[in-house]
């Protein structure tokens, strides 16, 4: 679902208006950025937990869980970026 959305966007972008981004395209790009911010936000918040654990504010065990979640979110973010790149290439080759 997400991939098809990115694909549509890049197809429009590369096929019809190669030089100037329209308002619609800009809005869609904002949606992609929004999606990518979700795992980034999780990483930031989990990092805050790690800081709290290091300060002794919460049990150390919670820091370990938080670090695992940071790794998972970083991977999610990476996947989103890979999807974006792949869709961009696909849209480019279709035009």
């Amino acid at each position: 679902m997400r991939n098809s959305r990115y694909y549509c966007f890049f197809k429009v972008k590369l096929g019809e208006e190669k030089n100037n981004m329209t308002e619609n395209e800009s809005a869609m790009l904002n949606v992609f950025v929004h999606d990518a911010r979700k795992p980034l936000n999780r990483i930031t918040m989990q990092a805050e937990l790690v800081k709290m654990a290091l300060n002794g504010d919460i049990p150390a065990q919670q820091a370990l869980t938080a670090l695992d979640k940071i790794i998972a979110s970083a991977k999610d973010c990476s996947h989103i970026l890979s999807d974006l790149t792949a869709q961009m290439h696909k849209a480019s080759s279709d035009t």
Partner: protein, 443 residues
């Protein structure tokens, strides 16, 4: 400690945010969408809502109207994943709604939760000051404005009649203002001078006119040249000084004490007294010829009890003045204004002003709430309670207890008479008093 509602569909985020918010010492509940948020809002009262802008069942902005209609609307912080939405939110929500942009750090959450809601200045109701001085929209005041307006176009002398504290001096200043005369407005109190000095005060003196007259002095008539002279408490002027005043009023010239030269004077004389016309006539405190010279145009200023609708306007003005001078943000509640309106204010506007200032001084300067003293006391009137006898929210037992004690007070503690007045048996009255812990069983 705050009670916070966190509305966001990302459960991993809400889990961590809850840990942080609880660590900061607040209580937090979560909702994953608007429907859940609405459900919480029906059950709980929240101090702060952290609200995601984009939720599965709509935008967080859809909650704004519902939040505004709550008895105690919570402070709102919108959470958005996109910085550009910040601008939109600012335009949409005004300065009283904060926002957080993801990714969010702990300090940012701490900051928005610790931020006190910006004190919004109490809405300052625009209260018109007629002639820049007088406040009141009652019929009695409108009539007064009409008279001021008419007389100010002429040079007629005016006598102001009215009880103490109604604002005679302010009306005199309003007449001067409305007349747009070029000269000064000079006010003097005829009751405040000794017999020996009143001549010098009114007409001035020449150097050496009497012991201590080390220089020439202009009297108030000269000072008010081309303007308005306000003679307050005119009926307190010694009767033997009144012929001198009459001469000035008739001839429009003064001779300074110890002088021989006549000095022409041209000013409107506005005099004032708190005696009624009948009293003036009967007590003979003012010579008849003087009265007719001064009271070419008599104006009676209504007492405050005859223009009760102006009480709230005046009370608001006095509190606004106090707020300005002291940097406070006090605001009247409607019920308090009703209480003020129910009182007769025998000391008139002056008493009301002092009462408002006293209440503001007694109130917590950090709060906008004014603490009314339990009674409005005046040596000129009976004590009047500021607590309404019947108020929604009081129990029947409370009201019954108050009635019983009020009745006992009235009959000087005579229980038989009190019971009779209350329409209950003496035994029932004793039982009630016993229940209140006021008498022992043996009594």
């Amino acid at each position: 400690m705050l009670t916070v509602l966190l509305v966001d569909d990302d459960t991993e985020f809400t889990d961590v945010a809850c840990t942080i918010i609880e660590f900061l010492g607040h209580e937090v509940l979560t909702a994953g969408n608007l429907e859940e948020a609405r459900s919480w809002l029906q059950k709980e009262t929240f101090d702060h809502i952290l609200l995601d802008f984009m939720l599965p069942d709509g935008s967080g902005a859809h909650l704004f109207n519902e939040l505004d209609s709550l008895p105690k609307p919570p402070r709102v912080t919108l959470i958005t994943g996109h910085p550009s939405i910040k601008g939109v939110i600012k335009d949409l929500c005004g300065p009283n709604i904060d926002y957080l942009v993801k990714p969010i750090q702990r300090e940012e959450i701490e900051d928005v939760l610790s931020r006190k809601s910006k004190k919004t200045a109490p809405k300052v109701e625009k209260i018109e000051r007629h002639f820049d001085l007088l406040i009141g929209e009652s019929e009695a005041m409108k009539e007064l404005y009409k008279l001021i307006s008419r007389v100010s176009k002429t040079s007629a002398n005016v006598m102001l009649l009215g009880e103490s504290g109604v604002g005679k001096e302010v009306v005199a200043a309003a007449i001067h203002k409305a007349s747009e005369s070029e000269g000064a407005y000079i006010a003097t109190n005829c009751g405040a001078f000794s017999k020996e000095l009143i001549g010098s005060e009114l007409f001035g003196h020449e150097k050496g006119a009497f012991t201590g007259a080390i220089g020439r002095k202009e009297g108030v008539f000269e000072q008010a040249e081309g303007g308005t002279l306000f003679l307050d408490e005119i009926t307190e002027m010694p009767i033997d000084m009144q012929p001198n005043l009459l001469r000035v009023l008739e001839n429009k010239v003064v001779i300074r004490v110890g002088g021989t030269k006549t000095i022409p004077v041209n000013c409107r004389v506005v005099s004032a007294t708190n005696r009624t016309m009948e009293e003036i006539a009967q007590s003979k405190v003012l010579r008849e010829d003087i009265y007719f010279r001064l009271a070419v145009f008599p104006i009676t200023i209504p007492p405050l009890r005859e223009r009760k609708e102006d009480i709230s306007l005046l009370a608001k003005t006095f509190i606004d003045e106090f707020n300005k001078e002291n940097g406070t943000q006090f605001n009247w509640e409607d019920a308090q204004l009703d209480t003020l309106q129910a009182y007769d204010w025998p000391g008139n506007v002056r008493e009301l002003r002092h009462f408002c200032h006293r209440a503001a001084i007694m109130s917590d300067p950090e709060s906008s709430q004014i603490e009314l003293p339990k009674t409005i006391e005046s040596p000129f009137a009976q004590k009047q309670s500021t607590t309404p006898a019947l108020q929604a929210g009081r129990t029947i037992e409370d009201v019954e207890k108050e009635l019983i004690y009020a009745t006992l007070d009235k009959v000087n503690g005579n229980k038989t008479m009190a019971a009779e007045m209350l329409g209950i048996s003496t035994k029932t009255l004793y039982n009630r008093l016993h229940a209140y812990g006021d008498i022992s069983k043996d009594e």
